[in-house]
Amino acid sequence: MTAAPEQIDVLDEAREQVLERGVGLTEAQVLKVLELPEDRIGDLLALAHEVRERWCGPEVEVEGIVSLKTGGCPEDCHFCSQSGQFPSPVRSAWLDIPGLVRAARQTRDTGATEFCIVAAVRGPDKRLLSQVRDGIKAIREDGNDIQIACSLGMLTQEQVDELVAMGVHRYNHNLETARSHFPNVVTTHSWEERWDTLRMIRDAGMEVCCGGIIGMGETLQQRAEFAVQLAELEPDEVPLNFLIPNPGTPYENYPVVEGTEALRTVGAFRLALPRTILRFAGGRELTFGDLGAKQGMLGGINAIIVGNYLTNLGRPAQQDLDMLDELSMPIKALSQTL
């Protein structure tokens, strides 16, 4: 009779593989992490924090975002209150150039190094690109040297080239969820179309920001699949959102992701993406509250969106800056990113 093979602890594996060698976990390993019992979450977060410190350093990247064009989107992303296909209370709005300049100034004044201009569209048309161009010019004329990112949907090669010429240094385009789950979330375009835009962005030399939303009915297996698909893309940044069940959307009655489950996800994504900027994004206020946000910052997160989001409100920026100060986490300076 042979003895049963010894069970190898996935966190022991991760310590050697991810912490020591910087190699992200496989899908099967990520799934094991997502299935860890609650009494192992502390160990997981401690390891994820060590990995983040080892491969990314101690700094936290701070970013602000603003919606340039709100609502009226033709796409049917089921989580989004800005889709024109659902009876959401969000009405269409355009932010004018002075408003965009003020938003960039508010963001810079928090010490942030990133300012992301976002539009709810399938892809940008000439009017939107013109507004972005004029906006960036006005932000620079205001004496604001913050780095500018954009999130304007799917792009053509010509549009990618235009954004590069405008000085946009990073582009956000989320894959949102695992490839196998995407058709349940969006039917008006495909995961592959998003992937194609991401490859063009990377090939053009812009930094790639690509993440998604946790809590959209995906299984743990699909969550693990998503983490590894993101790793395959090798993005510079992964924003991690937690579903906000917004009125009028197909997901309005979905439950908010429970705090410990969210922390487990944060730790697992860090172990899958040891060298990537992992950003706390939307939904953390509902999912974590104040205490959980600190645990996340000590569990692998190394970037944060401060202030409000696109259609939802965040915590006051100062509250997050105070939290970083309390945790003795330095904010990444603009000089380090240039």
């Binding site: 709100t70 408003g99 928090t110 009125p247 509902l286 696109l310």
Partner: protein, 64 residues
């Protein structure tokens, strides 16, 4: 005068709005005009929000 919930747009006197108040105090700007329940045009910025009703004008967050 009838007043309306800024989160769901229903009359304040109609049903329980505890959930609405919780959302408004945490993560949501007003979406419906409290005077007439029209959907408002809302612009969220990093530091605040503005909400404009076509009949009753614009309101803004304290931080804006």
């Amino acid at each position: 005068m009838t007043t309306y919930c800024s989160f769901c747009g229903k009359e304040e006197a109609d049903g329980d709005h505890a959930f609405c108040r919780q959302r408004l105090s945490a993560i949501d700007p007003p979406r419906y005009c409290p005077e007439c329940a029209r959907r408002m045009v809302v612009q969220v910025t990093p530091d605040g929000w503005t909400a404009r009703c076509s009949r009753h004008g614009e309101t803004a967050s304290a931080r804006n």
